[in-house]
Amino acid sequence: MSYQAAHGRPVAWLTMLLGLMFQIMPLPNLVEAWRPDWLLLVLIYWSMALPHRYNILTAFMMGIALDVLLGSVLGIRALAFSLVIYVVVLHFQRLRNFPLWQQAFVVALLVSFYHLVVFWAEFVIDGAHFNISLFLPAVASLLLWPWVFMILRRLRRHYKVR
């Protein structure tokens, strides 16, 4: 069992690193505003599937990493990730039993919540301007969630991550 645990865990971390990389990948200007929150999607998946292994502290660490990579004030995304993942961990059993499309809508809600928290923090710190395009990533995440979910579930089953 210990062998399997050691076998699976790097896979989860690797997917998170991939999410981090996709998050800072250049996109054409046209779709830049729609950039899906890859890292958050991956974090939501893992904290839903294995809430005792990957939860708020994982999200916090990834948030710090993303803050460093984006050059924003340290702690903004750490805070937002922690809040979102808290909600996920609190309701993981209910979320798991939702059909995929319903899950996708909940995920979109969570993503919009994340963007609101980030906006709020940036607003308090530096007075950012509100723009309705804030919610475009939520739409993109809504469309992508089924795929992310299937791929990650397949990975989790194949590598027996637990």
Binding site: M1, L69, G75, A78, D126
Partner: protein, 289 residues
């Protein structure tokens, strides 16, 4: 087997901990520069990795260029080079004249600053800020506060450095301020970013100030950060409204902030403590006269 009974601390406690920690981090942000620097050195391979698709695109565009295109480009560059070298000849003569005049006045001579070309990495940054990431870091001697210019004018200044990358705050960012002067009459002003990429504003301009649309703004060197004389922006609009205390002046940055690819990092030479240098042109002047 799932570890049902070994949950450790409750999630509420974890959340409280995370919130307290992140708020503390936000408050202490300005003092965390060393931490950020080491963390971002640690994470910069990810940035290089994320930049790969862009590099591949560039590479394929270059290797798929037709002979015709290359010839055209070559011709254009030749023409530019000719124009530039002619201008440089005049400039050289002016520089000598300027040095002599400065020596006569006893004021310190302009030194040639050290420069380095850096490439802008195509990675995403905080959407609420105007940042670009450069592919040179503290290993190449880049430091926080370093001026960055491109072929047309001032781009911004370095605000964060890691070992292999650095982050530049653009002049258009709302938190960026830059001391400038008007070339026409040496009026000194401060240019602030507005958060719009092609617009900067001049704040607290008295309505009696002699400034009009079309004026060229260059760095005044008063902030001790940018060397003097680099072009920054051109004034686009001056509104003197009787209801307002100050005139509202907008300008457009000269640097192509929305499509910068290559920039110059500048190491400004300190003008104090170099007495040997400004004796030399004196002698030069004597020899020549």
């Amino acid at each position: 087997m799932k570890p049902i009974f070994v949950r450790g601390i409750s999630i509420q406690l974890r959340l409280t901990l995370a919130i307290v920690l992140s708020v503390a981090l936000m408050l202490a942000n300005d003092r965390l520069e060393p931490v950020r620097q080491s963390l971002s050195s640690f994470l910069s391979p990810l940035q290089y990795l994320a930049n790969v698709p862009g590099l591949l695109l560039d590479w394929s565009a270059e290797s798929l260029a037709t002979r015709n295109m290359l010839e055209k480009q070559n011709k254009e560059l030749m023409r530019q080079q000719l124009l530039m070298s002619e201008r440089l000849q005049r400039f050289e003569q002016l520089r000598q004249e300027n040095d002599r005049l400065r020596a006569l006045l006893g004021s310190p001579v302009h030194m040639d600053a050290r420069k380095m070309v850096a490439e802008v990495m195509e990675v995403a940054s905080d959407p609420y800020r105007h940042y670009v990431v450069l592919n040179k870091g503290s290993d190449s001697g880049v430091f926080v506060g370093q001026p960055v210019v491109d072929a047309f004018g001032v781009v911004g200044q370095v605000t964060q450095v890691s070992k292999l990358t650095s982050r530049v705050l653009l002049v258009s960012d709302a938190s960026h301020g830059l001391p400038v002067r008007v070339t026409r009459n040496d009026v000194r002003l401060v240019a602030n970013g507005t958060g719009v990429l092609d617009e900067i504003e001049l704040k607290h301009v008295a309505k009696s100030t002699d400034i009009k649309a079309g004026d060229l703004l260059v760095t005044s060197g008063l902030g001790q950060r940018f060397p003097e004389g680099y072009p920054v922006a051109r004034v686009t609009q001056v509104i003197k409204d009787d209801g307002q205390t100050y005139a509202s002046v907008l300008a457009r940055p000269l640097a192509a902030l929305d499509r910068i690819r290559y920039v110059l990092l500048i190491w400004p030479e300190l003008e104090t403590g170099t007495p040997t240098e400004f004796v030399e042109p004196d002698k030069d002047a004597e020899v020549k006269s």
